[in-house]
C-alpha cells in the first residue's frame, strides 16, 4: 500500500522587493533635506519614490510523494528548489497553499548546522545532533558509528576550529548522515569535500534511499539524481513544470539549460574564463565519441575525440598543448599533453586545427569538465582554460554492465574461479 508521505497543494512563496528610485537633487538644500530624511528612514522613507515588486520564488506547486519514494528536485539557479525545501522543512512559511507531511521530518540543508568552532568534536556531535532533531539517547547510541564514519577518532577532544576543513566536513556530514527520520529533505550537501568524500556521501545516501525512507533530494549533480532518485521534479521559475521518471526529466532539463553541449557541435570559447598571454588562443572546440555508437556521444571506456581551433598571432612552434578531463569539483583525472610525446606543432599564423584522440577513456559515466592548455614547456601559458566546456560520458552501450562502478576510473579486469583444496 502506498501511503502518502508528503502532499503539497498550491504551495507558493513570494517576496516583496523594494526598488528605491535614485532621484537627482537639484539644489544643495534638496540634497541636505534628502540626507536628513535618510537619517530617519522609518519616517522619511515614505516620501521617496519606491516601486514594489512581488517576486514569486515558488508558485502553485502541487505534488504527492508516497512513503518510501526517493524524489529528486532539479532546476536551474533561482528555480525555487531551495525555497521549496525550506518551506517543507518549516524554516520559512509559504505565502499560499498547504502541505501535509506524515512522519518525522529531518532536513539537511547544509553540512555542519549548529557546529560551534570553540567546541570539541565530541561536543559538536552532541550539539549538532540535537539541533538536527536527534534525541540525546539516540546520539549516544550512534556516537561510535558517527565517529567511525568521520574517521576523526583521535581528534574527538580537540576544538573543531583546529580541524582541517576535510575533517570538519567529514564529522559534520557523519552527524547528519546518521539522522534517521522517516522523511529526509536534503539540499546539495554532497557538493562539498573532495571526490573520495563525495563518493562516500553518495554511498551513504544510497543506503538511506534503500532503507525505505522518503527522501526529497535537491541537487545540481545530475549523476547523483540519476543514481538515487527514480522520480524527479523539474522546477522552472518557481513552478513545477515536470514530474516523472528521472531519465526523461534530466534530459529535458539539460536540453533547456544548455547543459553539456552535444557532440559534434562547435563550442565557442571566446567568452570562457581564461588566463595567459593569448599569443596562441583557443577559439572553439568540439568533441565526439566513437562515431557509430550513441549518435556520436562519448561513452565510458570508449574513444573520445576533441578537435580544437587555435588562433596563433604569428607562425610559431608549439611544444605544450594539453587537454584535461576533470570532475565537476575540479579534480584533474586525465591530462594529455603533446609534450609527453616530445611532439611540437608548427602553427601557422591565423587559425589552426588540432585533433586529439583519446583511445579509451577509463572513467565512469557522468559529467566532466574539459580544460585546455597551450603554453611553453616552462609552464608559461599562452592560453589556459581551466573549464572550457562540459561533456557527458554515457554508460557503455554494450556489455550489459548492470551496475556502474563506484570508482572514479574504470579498469579492465577478469575473474577466475576454481574449486579450492579442502583446508587441512
Amino acid at each position: 500500500m502506498s501511503e502518502t508521505a508528503i502532499r503539497a497543494e498550491g504551495i507558493g512563496k513570494h517576496y516583496e522587493i523594494t526598488h528605491l528610485a535614485r532621484r537627482r537633487h537639484n539644489t544643495l538644500r534638496d540634497s541636505l533635506a534628502a540626507g536628513v530624511r535618510g537619517l530617519l528612514p522609518v519616517w522619511g522613507g515614505g516620501r521617496r519614490s519606491a516601486t514594489r515588486e512581488t517576486i514569486w520564488a515558488v508558485r502553485e506547486v502541487s505534488f504527492e510523494i508516497a512513503r518510501g519514494e526517493v524524489v529528486g528536485v532539479i532546476g536551474g539557479n533561482g528555480a525555487g528548489k531551495s525555497t521549496l525545501l525550506k518551506i517543507l522543512s518549516r524554516i520559512t512559511e509559504p505565502s499560499a497553499g498547504r502541505a501535509e507531511i506524515r512522519g518525522r521530518v529531518g532536513s539537511l540543508l547544509e553540512v555542519g548546522t549548529g557546529f560551534h568552532s570553540e567546541l570539541t568534536g565530541r561536543e559538536n556531535t552532541y550539539l549538532s545532533g540535537a539541533i538536527l532533531g536527534m534525541r540525546h539517547a539516540e546520539i549516544e547510541r550512534k556516537f561510535d558509528a558517527i565517529v567511525d564514519f568521520a574517521e576523526v577518532e583521535q581528534f574527538l577532544d580537540t576544538p573543531v576550529k583546529h580541524y582541517s576543513s576535510g575533517m570538519y566536513l567529514r564529522l559534520a556530514f557523519a552527524v547528519a548522515a546518521h539522522l534517521d527520520p522517516e522523511i529526509l529533505l536534503v539540499d546539495e550537501v554532497l557538493a562539498v569535500g573532495d571526490v573520495n568524500f563525495q563518493r562516500k556521501c553518495l554511498g551513504k545516501m544510497d543506503d538511506v534511499a534503500r532503507a525505505g525512507r522518503t527522501v526529497l533530494f535537491v541537487s545540481h549533480n545530475m549523476d547523483a539524481v540519476r543514481r538515487l532518485c527514480p522520480r524527479s521534479f523539474l522546477l522552472e521559475r518557481g513552478r513545477l513544470v515536470a514530474d516523472g521518471p528521472t531519465e526523461g526529466i534530466v534530459s529535458r532539463h539539460l536540453a533547456r539549460a544548455g547543459g553539456p553541449a552535444g557532440p559534434d557541435a562547435w563550442i565557442d570559447l571566446d567568452t570562457a574564463d581564461r588566463s595567459g598571454s593569448r599569443e596562441v588562443r583557443f577559439a572553439r572546440a568540439r568533441y565526439s565519441g566513437e562515431p557509430a555508437a550513441l549518435a556520436g556521444q562519448p561513452y565510458a571506456g570508449g574513444a573520445l575525440e576533441i578537435e580544437l581551433e587555435l588562433v596563433a598571432a604569428e607562425a610559431r612552434p608549439l611544444d605544450s598543448l594539453a587537454v584535461s578531463l576533470r570532475t565537476p569539483g575540479g579534480t584533474r583525472l586525465v591530462d594529455v599533453d603533446i609534450m609527453e610525446h616530445g611532439q611540437a606543432l608548427a602553427l601557422t599564423a591565423g587559425p589552426n586545427r588540432v585533433r586529439f584522440r583519446l583511445a579509451a577513456v577509463h572513467l565512469t559515466p557522468g559529467r566532466y569538465t574539459v580544460g585546455l592548455w597551450a603554453g611553453r614547456t616552462s609552464g608559461e601559458a599562452f592560453d589556459y582554460l581551466e573549464s572550457a566546456f562540459e561533456l557527458e560520458l554515457f554508460a557503455a552501450p554494450y556489455g550489459g554492465a548492470a551496475r556502474a562502478s563506484n570508482g572514479l576510473v574504470t579498469c579492465d579486469f577478469s575473474v577466475t574461479h576454481e574449486r579450492a583444496a579442502a583446508p587441512v
Binding site: G97, R98, A99, R102, T113, H116, E118, L119, L127, I131
Partner: protein, 274 residues
C-alpha cells in the same frame, strides 16, 4: 502506529504560543544552554571571573560615589552589601536582556538552515546567564558573612524572586530579539535602555526614598520588585513582598506574554529577514 502529521500553511492573525512543541524540544533547549555556558568564557584570559568583575566593580564605584560622597541612605545595612545584593540579580537581568536581544541575529545560521521552535534561542541565552548568577551569588554570601549578616528563613523567597527577574528578562528579550531581526537599530537602543533601566531601579538608592502611592506605581518596573525583594530576603530590609511585588509580577507577566506573542507573530519572517 500513526505518524505525526505536520501541516504547513500560511498563518494568519493570532497563533498559539506553541508551548507544547517547545516542551517537546526541551532537550535541544538544554543543549543550547549547555553550549552557551561552555563557550561563554572561551578564549578569555580571566574566564569565569568576568561573572564577578562586572557587578563587583560597579558595587565599588557605587559605594564610593553614592555611599561615601553622596551619603545615600541604605535602609540600615552597610552600603556595599546593600548595592551588591541589588547588583547580583540586576546583572543577571541586564546580561540576559542584552544577549537575548542579539540572540536571533547571532544564530542566523540556524534560523536559515534548520527548524525548531525559535523561542528556544532567546530562552537558552537568558538561562545560560544562570551560571554567572550562581558565581556572583556566592560572592554575595561571602560579603554577607564579612558584614556578619546571617541568612534567614526569608531566603526561601529567592527562587521566586529570581524567577521574576528571569520572566522580566525573557519578556523584554522576546520583544527586542524579534525587533532586532528587522530593525538593527535595536543594537544601539539596548545599551542605552540598560543604562536607563539601571537608574530607574533602586540599585544605587533605596526605594524608601519614594512615598506612597509612588512607590507602588514605581513597582511597575518589575526589577523594583526583584531588587527590593532580594534585599529583604537576604539583608532583612523593610521591603517585604507586598503590593509592590504583586504589581511587579503582574507587569513582568504582561511583558512576557506580550513578548512571546509578538515573537511568535514575527517568527515566520525571521528566516527571510535576518
Amino acid at each position: 502506529m500513526t505518524a505525526p502529521v505536520t501541516v504547513i500553511r500560511p498563518t494568519r492573525g493570532w497563533i498559539s504560543l506553541g508551548l507544547g512543541e517547545l516542551w517537546a524540544y526541551r532537550e535541544l533547549l538544554y543543549f543550547l544552554v549547555w553550549r552557551d555556558v561552555k563557550v561563554r568564557y572561551k578564549q578569555t584570559a580571566l574566564g569565569a571571573a568576568w561573572a564577578i568583575i562586572q557587578p563587583f566593580f560597579t558595587m565599588v564605584v557605587f559605594s564610593l560615589f553614592f555611599g561615601r560622597l553622596a551619603r545615600m541612605p541604605s535602609d540600615g545595612v552597610p552600603y556595599p552589601v546593600f548595592a551588591f545584593a541589588a547588583l547580583v540579580p540586576w546583572t543577571f537581568f541586564a546580561t540576559g536582556l542584552t544577549q537575548s536581544s542579539n540572540s536571533l541575529v547571532a544564530s542566523q545560521n540556524l534560523l536559515k538552515k534548520v527548524y525548531f521552535p525559535r523561542l528556544a534561542i532567546p530562552i537558552a541565552t537568558v538561562l545560560s546567564g544562570g551560571v554567572d548568577f550562581v558565581i556572583a551569588f556566592l560572592v554575595l554570601l561571602g560579603m554577607m558573612a564579612h558584614y556578619d549578616i546571617a541568612l534567614g528563613v526569608n531566603a526561601l523567597w529567592l527562587p521566586a524572586l529570581l524567577l521574576l527577574a528571569l520572566v522580566t528578562a525573557l519578556g523584554v528579550g522576546f520583544w527586542l530579539a524579534a525587533l532586532n531581526v528587522k530593525y538593527r537599530d535595536v543594537r544601539y537602543v539596548v545599551p542605552f535602555l540598560v543604562q536607563f533601566w539601571l537608574f530607574a531601579t533602586p540599585i544605587a538608592y533605596p526605594s524608601s526614598l519614594l512615598g506612597e502611592p509612588w512607590r507602588t506605581l514605581y513597582a511597575l518596573n518589575p526589577m523594583v520588585g526583584v531588587v527590593e525583594g532580594f534585599r529583604w530576603a537576604l539583608l532583612g530590609t523593610a521591603t517585604a513582598p507586598g503590593a509592590a511585588l504583586a504589581v511587579s509580577a503582574a507587569a513582568a507577566l504582561l511583558l512576557l506574554v506580550g513578548g512571546a506573542y509578538y515573537f511568535r507573530r514575527m517568527e515566520k519572517t525571521f528566516a527571510d529577514l535576518v
